[in-house]
Symmetry: C3
Subunit: 269 residues, 3 copies
Amino acid sequence: MMRSLLFAGAGRADLVAKLPGTDADAVVIDLEDAVPEGEKEAARGELPGLVASAAGARVMVRVNGAATRWFEADVEAAVALPIAGVVLPKAERPEEVAALAARLGADLELVAGLESARGVVAAEELLAAGATTGYFGAEDYIADLGGRRTAAGLEALYARSRVALASRLAGVPCLDQVVVDFRDDAGFAADAEAGRAFGYRGKLCIHPRQATLANRAFGATPEELARARALLDAWERAAAAGVGAISFDGQMVDLPAVRMARDTLERAG
Amino acid sequence: MMRSLLFAGAGRADLVAKLPGTDADAVVIDLEDAVPEGEKEAARGELPGLVASAAGARVMVRVNGAATRWFEADVEAAVALPIAGVVLPKAERPEEVAALAARLGADLELVAGLESARGVVAAEELLAAGATTGYFGAEDYIADLGGRRTAAGLEALYARSRVALASRLAGVPCLDQVVVDFRDDAGFAADAEAGRAFGYRGKLCIHPRQATLANRAFGATPEELARARALLDAWERAAAAGVGAISFDGQMVDLPAVRMARDTLERAG
Amino acid sequence: MMRSLLFAGAGRADLVAKLPGTDADAVVIDLEDAVPEGEKEAARGELPGLVASAAGARVMVRVNGAATRWFEADVEAAVALPIAGVVLPKAERPEEVAALAARLGADLELVAGLESARGVVAAEELLAAGATTGYFGAEDYIADLGGRRTAAGLEALYARSRVALASRLAGVPCLDQVVVDFRDDAGFAADAEAGRAFGYRGKLCIHPRQATLANRAFGATPEELARARALLDAWERAAAAGVGAISFDGQMVDLPAVRMARDTLERAG
């Protein structure tokens, strides 16, 4: 369950140290967008201290993209530390996701960013290649297309919808886009409700207040919990009886549906 | 032509008996969503009487999905009765549509529901596999994604658009989503106009009032009729002259375009 | 760079003669939608005089679609004249785009119209087959689907988004939909801003006022110029050093991205 994933730049030790005290379900120390080119190596060098200072939280590290010259060293530094997972931005090739997943093994999470033309087009394959969670990055997607973000956000609606569909097809929960203005609580809450309606399971956050709001928005309703429980019951009864295929609510139940139902159950609290 | 397809649950003999008196172009006795699990067999047993009581209408039966344990017996019961067609909910695999189409033969209609992640993704193939009409089910689609329906409906816009496109590509007219609040005439009329704008040819209805409103919304305009007539004229002249391929309005005319034009002509009234 | 592409019908010599005096980045003498069936040959006969009267402008000719009986003669007439390029409406098959591109050679531009169900579905392949620019035609697309245009335009949002994505994937700049009411300056400006947000690089225009407005809307911002310059710098440094693959802003840089960046640089003025 990851209703809120809260980012802090690797250059902001003050913010990183505050991450464990927030409501965020998981937190990210960011080596990518938050760190200028000239400071990448220095930021990586600070990583052990930063991870230590965030201890107590479910800590992830966002490495630089697989196509960059920092990627290898970033991953090496991250996996040597007591972290919960790695965030891979701008995923575009299923092979790069699969290779990173193999390297992380079963104990570390892999959050894949779908935030470019090619990433959105290949979203289902990228998620299915080994991601445990995905996210849709509207700012980078629209920049890649040469467009501009607007308040209404219709320019990102197609990609946001397509990633939500890919999330269900792959059975990998996805997190919704950033709200840049972190002082606009009402705007964040409305955008979270919208993302929830699309089928997103949580939201990228850039301020502790947003994490609190995201947790509120992405809890499951009693009806959703009941539906998920019934689906999992049917699935487990079938498995116990040695039945290969079952239906639920008129549809064949596939493994992705089972994974999504398990994610829903974890939202009970 | 199916501007309005009006549903009544198989458990509601009172409503089924009223179907012939409504304005609906076609009506459905529903064995699926309207019937709880424990009452499926009983409802099927009532089918002969229900179909008889709906005589005079163009009567269809919605069977349970192809993945369910009720499907086979539902179809068997339905095709033994004097019905106009079968509605297959939650279609996901072209083979299941093709098999049912073969079983129904040329005299019975087959309405395929596109209302799940996999159904929307495969919409064109599903329609082309033998459906005579399709429909987009927003409620089930969004539930399958783990999302929520909102009044504005942006969460379903992508899938609603994609099914409308698939409808044209396959040359199979499709019906638009349900409006759950059957007392909201203005809301229904607005949603019908929207569906009409997307290219839908009719609408699922859950109340006789909605059927009347749908018929009003989905009639063809004089311009649309003229365009359809001109396309069919060009097509028939070419066929008479033994010409294999023709263009209309600057585009190559394909068989799907011809089928859609015929559907438009039937809306003349 | 083509922020504005201004159309005048081949039957309107008076309007064609005024094209060089407008602000339009490029202009089109239209043999297709603007000319009724019975006048196609006569309009083609006027082409030499029309092209001469538009001298001084970057003049293109919109021929009739590749599936029509006028296409061959239209292209032959157009390429014999001192024009800048050809506009191919309702492109649907990559082979037809490739064949026309081969015929036009490197010196003439080829603008491909994506304005039908099949054209939108194949947008990336059509653009990549040899188009130098593309455009999205909402009116024809929605007519092909049997839908209707509305003021809000949600019925075209999916296709408009999909063509913008295809534009980036193919690295071929695309122009956005027509605004039919040419007296509505505010409506045009708003629609141009929206298209700009989606990633479109310019707009189809049907009146000189629209060309002026489009030029204003589709200029690049200082940030966009800086991003494009940095990407091209990285690309050229890598080429000079014999490095095959580079990343920019965390993503692998592909040739389409380079082409789009060059297009952005040309908008500096």
